[in-house]
């Protein structure tokens, strides 16, 4: 390193020309650094930082899109109002329910699929692709397909009928709509978890299994004492990513709600996201919506923090 640095001093760039304005500019770390950062920084300041600050300030304001000039500061009133709204608590509860149902299910399913396609069996490549296809398909398309499948008189609902399920339009049923959303999330997210787990499984040294086999370990023992410790760190990643995505679910609910208010039928699928969207964008109640977004962010932060503590302690 030091040798080459000495060389660069003795061999001057552009020996025939005097240093031009451009070459002195283009040689300075400071100037080039800022030039390269500038496109990002402008876009970021304009379309991230500025709206972020606006969002924060407006959560303390009474502001409506129809009369932006009449905005006035009302302190914590938006937050107080939200926290007194039973619909908000229902929305938080629904978000938690979706996450509590979908995250463990999709994690276990993802691991199971990864274990299955990691074996020496025929057609494992095809199965891997099949499991992964829902993940790359748009949420709207998958939701649409499932809504069509769960209409009355389809192959699926006729099949369910054999087992005594009468009405299976789950997406329009207040007691099943939330589960319907959770299933959609599991169906799409499991393929992602499978890929992540698969990458982790391929890191496990093969001779570990062989050695355990010689020692007379059963298949379950091998799974319990070799596979599980190996995939444990990646599980934290899989769980935290799907938890955050679970809290952010929007597309599926928007598709199910059709022309109704977001969170239809009758608020059965309202979540923290649809709550702020409904108030902030559909009702154009910017201040109130911004306060709800801040609470949404706060909830995600708390959950992420708790999860990190909980899962780290287990290590």
């Amino acid at each position: 390193m030091s040798v080459s640095r000495n060389n660069s001093k003795s061999i001057q760039p552009y020996p025939y020309k005097k240093q031009s304005w451009f070459s002195s500019f283009a040689d300075s770390d400071n100037k080039v650094g800022w030039l390269f950062i500038l496109p990002f920084l402008i876009l970021w300041a304009w379309w991230f930082f500025y709206p972020f600050v606006q969002s924060f300030i407006r959560s303390f304001q009474d502001m409506n899109f129809a009369a932006m000039d009449e905005a006035k500061f009302i302190g914590l009133n938006n937050f107080i109002q939200i926290l007194q709204d039973p619909e908000f608590f229902q929305a938080v509860l629904h978000s938690l329910q979706i996450v509590l149902i979908a995250v463990p299910t999709q994690t276990i399913l993802g691991l199971l699929m990864a274990l299955l396609v990691n074996q020496k069996i025929k057609g494992k490549g095809i199965f891997r692709t099949i499991f992964f296809i829902p993940y790359i398909t748009s949420q709207i398309a998958v939701t649409t397909v499932f809504m069509m499948l769960f209409k009355q008189g389809t192959f699926l609902t006729n099949f369910f009928g054999i087992f005594g399920f009468g009405d299976v339009t789950w997406f329009a049923d207040t007691s099943y709509a939330l589960i319907f959303v959770a299933i959609l999330f599991i169906f799409q997210q499991a393929g992602f978890s499978m890929i992540v787990y698969l990458a982790a499984l391929q890191e496990v040294p093969k001779d570990l299994y062989e050695a355990a086999g010689i020692d007379g370990a059963s298949k379950w023992d091998k799974f319990r004492y070799i596979t599980v410790p190996f995939v444990k760190p990646i599980s934290f990643f899989v769980i935290s990513v799907s938890t955050i995505l679970g809290f952010q679910i929007y597309d599926q609910i928007a598709a199910i709600s059709r022309y109704g208010a977001l969170g239809s039928p009758a608020g059965a699928t309202s979540t923290v996201v649809t709550y702020f969207y409904q108030h902030g964008i559909r009702y154009m109640n910017i201040g109130y919506g911004s306060a709800a977004v801040l609470l949404f962010f706060f909830i995600i932060l708390i959950i992420t923090f708790l999860q990190k503590k909980l899962l780290d302690d287990k290590e």
Binding site: P39, R58, L116, V145, I286
Partner: protein, 274 residues
């Protein structure tokens, strides 16, 4: 012992086949239904009764302007990827290899922005777009998304691994820092840039929240938003809707089969969809 092994193998196949069917049957149902006439929906009919009428509808009926939506989606996705191919590597290279004042702050900004869900700023972005008169224009769908802090971080991690000897060698050749970036480092980053483009393609092509918020005239819909509007408008016409699902999903599936290897590698290394 041998019998037990056979049984285990059989169980393995049984589980994987059942799971596989569970995952693939909805798609088979979709394709099949899109190819039959409305009165044959949910009946098994022979191939001679199949028809492309549902598909033709999307190209002849002005109410479902699929060619236009396809064009909109392509323009949006293309522009976003081109932007990301310029803005992200520039910033990432500066963060990895150039010592400029304030570098630490910028790095911190990139990391912090990565953690914040877009929902956080959606309302003010919508209001600002409306005030600029940008709603229902490509500006709204493209400009804020020309960079992505996650990809800047990913590319920075790559650029850090480029040996400093490259920089020294370039200096000896009398090359400027800018020339060094374009002529040497940028071509070196081919593979992470391809991964980034693939993730950005999938993420942008499938996005619904942002386009559905920033556009509300059918002429400016992207495919996914258009599909949702068709589904709501003709909810009882399953066959027509399913043809829409196929048309919307086909491009991304073709794309996936072309780049399957890089896409899966990208996901398992970065772990995040665009």
């Amino acid at each position: 012992m041998k019998a037990r092994k056979h049984l285990a193998l059989f169980a393995n196949y049984a589980i994987i086949i059942v799971l596989g069917l569970l995952f693939i049957l909805p798609f088979i149902y979709t394709i099949y239904t899109s190819l039959v006439s409305t009165r044959d929906v949910n009946k098994l009919v022979s191939i001679t009764n199949w028809t492309f009428d549902n598909y033709i509808m999307y190209f002849t009926n002005d109410a479902y302007n699929v060619p236009r939506w396809f064009l909109n989606t392509t323009i949006m996705t293309g522009a976003v990827i081109v932007g990301n191919l310029i803005v992200n590597p520039l910033a990432a290279f500066a963060l990895a290899k150039l010592n400029f004042k304030g570098k630490k702050i910028i790095y911190w900004i990139v990391l912090a922005t990565m953690m914040v869900p877009y929902h956080m700023i959606l309302i003010p972005v919508y209001v600002n777009m409306a005030n600029l008169g940008w709603l229902n224009t490509f500006l709204a769908l493209v400009i804020p998304f020309l960079y992505q802090s996650l990809y800047i971080f990913m590319l920075r991690q790559f650029f850090v691994t480029v040996p400093n000897e490259f920089m020294e060698a370039a200096r000896i050749d009398g090359m400027s820092k800018i020339g060094l970036f374009w002529k040497i480092v940028y071509p070196l980053a081919r593979s992470p840039l391809i991964t980034m483009s693939i993730l950005a393609f999938a993420g942008t092509w499938n996005s619904y929240l942002i386009p559905s918020t920033l556009t509300n005239t059918p002429k400016m819909y992207v495919l996914v938003v258009g599909l949702n509007s068709v589904k709501d408008a003709v909810f009882e016409n399953t066959a027509l809707i399913m043809a829409g699902v196929v048309l919307t999903t086909l491009p991304i599936l073709i794309f996936f089969f072309l780049f399957q290897k890089q896409y899966i590698e990208g996901i398992s290394s970065s772990g995040i969809k665009g």
